[in-house]
């Protein structure tokens, strides 16, 4: 080997390594594929129930597969974040990058690189499979309409955010099943529980849950007055930052075993 002096751990190199890792396990492809298929199926199925005169927009029909899409994103993120620890790869990884935090940062970026295109494919695919349903109900999907753009972009943003939250949760909990369970409770179960008991307190609590991020792609008319689309996005953003920060703290301060 020549040029030993050139060898050093740099962030671009860690990023390249994490990208190589993510793309070298087939589960990544299967999760992305499963997410798209289940999302499209759900959007198509829910599209069957849309009729003319319903108080929904064309855009919200196109994003109606979100319940499955978010689960796929959560699994993707959780596996990236917890995978090192559950497979025992962590000792090798963190022996190569003893400063540790670059690994988490790189995992965050490579997750975005997979989640964002997957979310876009979900969106475009859902829009296509709901075309018939929308035209039957007389609903349009106008890319020039600001509200429509907000919903479509919000959907992609939300799904990417969920994946990042998954990374943070996975890296914090270090066990994929535990992290997935926590994610489902936070995103689906608690929100539904609170939704069935409407009231002033429960509304405030719902707005503080990461599921508030779904407001990013909610219809204008369905948005609660106290916390709108932007606010919901910020709440999700805060959860993402908090989860990643907690994971970083654990990684930096405690042993890797």
């Amino acid at each position: 080997m020549s040029g030993h002096r050139l060898l050093a751990v740099t962030f671009p190199r860690v990023l390249a390594a994490e990208w190589s890792k993510l793309t070298s396990v087939s589960s990544t492809l299967w999760i992305a594929l499963g997410t798209v298929v289940s999302t499209l199926s759900l959007a198509f199925a829910l599209g069957l129930f849309v009729r003319a005169g319903d108080a929904v927009s064309g855009a919200s029909v196109a994003v109606s597969g979100s319940l499955f899409a978010q689960l796929g994103m959560l699994v993707l993120g959780v596996l990236v974040g917890a995978g090192e620890f559950s497979t025992g790869t962590s000792t090798v990884t963190f022996a190569a990058v003893p400063r540790r935090l670059p690994v988490l940062a790189a995992q965050t970026l490579v997750t975005v690189a997979v989640a964002l295109p997957t979310a876009v494919v979900c969106l475009v695919g859902s829009a296509l499979v709901t075309t018939a349903a929308r035209s039957a109900a007389g609903l349009t999907l106008d890319p020039a309409d600001a509200g429509t753009v907000r919903i479509l972009a919000g959907y992609v943003l939300y799904l990417t955010g969920v994946a990042l939250f998954g990374v943070g949760l996975g890296a914090l909990v270090r066990r994929p099943t535990g992290a997935l369970l926590a994610g489902v409770v936070l995103f689906v179960v608690l929100d539904q529980l609170l939704a069935t008991n409407p009231g002033r307190i429960t509304d405030v609590l719902r707005a503080a849950l990461p599921a508030a991020g779904t407001r990013l792609f909610a219809d204008e008319g369905a948005l609660p007055t106290h916390l709108g689309a932007g606010g919901g996005g910020l709440v999700l953003g805060a959860w993402v930052v908090a989860a990643l920060a907690a994971a970083a703290y654990r990684l930096r301060r405690f042993d890797v075993t």
């Binding site: 080997m1 030993h4 050139l6 060898l7 050093a8 751990v9 740099t10 190199r13 860690v14 390249a16 390594a17 994490e18 190589s20 890792k21 070298s24 396990v25 087939s26 589960s27 995978g83 497979t87 025992g88 790869t89 962590s90 000792t91 090798v92 990884t93 963190f94 022996a95 190569a96 990058v97 003893p98 400063r99 042993d255 890797v256 075993t257």
Partner: protein, 304 residues
């Protein structure tokens, strides 16, 4: 060079490593021994900065592991051969690791060749036998062409060819001036390849010495074994020479404090027929068992 200074690691009330100091020198193969649960793996994780010492320090060439710019270039380690994502191929595993340091792809191919993994490099690690995983772990350790190698049970699960290969590899690496630090429970193997031995028990240092010094600790060191058909003639002669004689089964005598040659000469003079005469070499296994007798944590069929 690995230097541990009063290294201590506690997990709550349990002390895994207790004031451990030792040095693994360049150009030397240092064997690291101890009973199960003695703290060997913990010590190795402390060296790699995966765990933080409760107190004390451990450095590689004078620097803390976490401060190294290119850790893989300095230390190559194999802690657990199963530390690989089962869904990843061996080549991809090594490539990802290489990428963290900008190590070229050609070097990945090189270590795959060195460890004899060419035929399975494209297969997912899930289907690997323990021996193949072991080779992959050693390949990962060699990746950065490091000056220090740290291997936890490198021959575990290897076939006889593999064991021979590891023995030659570590000898060659040490001959090139590198520091080799390896743990093993295979005493015969270690006796063949290690220059120095560090033995720990319950997290404490029991011995840090050269192989001859350790062998000297063996009960059999300096023992002469003689089988004779005339013990009645030979025993008085040996006692006269100042020897300690213990009669064993089948006319065998264990003699101490008399050299092999003197036992032969004495037998000739006494007219005793010698059927067998041998100097017992000290064994590492015996020395180890003696040194660790008090610190074995999990004893087989022990006192109930």
């Amino acid at each position: 060079m690995i230097e541990a200074q009063a290294l201590t690691k506690r997990y709550g009330p349990t002390t895994a490593v207790d004031g451990l100091s030792f040095t693994a020198l360049p150009g030397t193969v240092t064997g690291f021994l101890g009973p199960n649960g003695a703290g060997k793996s913990t010590t190795m994780r402390l060296v790699l900065g995966l765990e933080r010492p409760t107190s004390g320090t451990v450095t590689i060439g004078g620097r803390r592991y976490a401060d190294l710019d290119a850790p893989l270039r300095t230390v190559g380690a194999m802690l657990d051969a199963r530390s690989v994502h089962p869904g990843r191929t061996a080549f991809r595993h090594l490539l990802a690791l290489a990428r963290t340091h900008g190590i070229p792809r050609s070097r990945v191919d090189e270590v795959i060749g060195m460890t004899g993994l060419e035929s399975v490099a494209g297969r997912r690690v899930k289907g690997f036998s323990l021996g193949m995983s072991q080779r992959l772990g050693i390949a990962a350790a060699l990746l950065g062409d490091p000056g220090t190698l740290m291997l936890d049970e490198p021959v575990n699960g290897l076939d006889p060819d593999g064991v021979l290969w590891v023995r030659k590899l570590v000898r060659d690496l040490a001959a090139e001036g590198r520091t080799v630090f390896l743990s093993s429970h295979l005493m015969h193997e270690l006796a063949l390849c290690a220059d120095r031995v560090v033995i720990i028990g319950r997290g404490r240092l029991l011995a840090d010495a050269s192989m001859p010094e350790i062998l000297h600790q063996s009960e059999r060191a300096g023992l002469v074994r003689v089988r004779t058909s005339d013990p009645a003639l030979l025993v008085p002669a040996l006692l006269q020479l100042g020897g300690d004689v213990v009669a064993q089964q089948d006319d065998v005598l264990h003699v101490r404090h008399v050299s092999l040659e003197d036992v032969g000469v004495a037998a000739g003079r006494a007219g005793a027929t010698v059927l067998e005469l041998a100097a017992e070499a000290g064994s590492l296994e015996e020395a180890y068992l003696r040194l660790t007798a008090d610190s074995v944590q999990y004893q087989a069929g022990g006192a109930r």
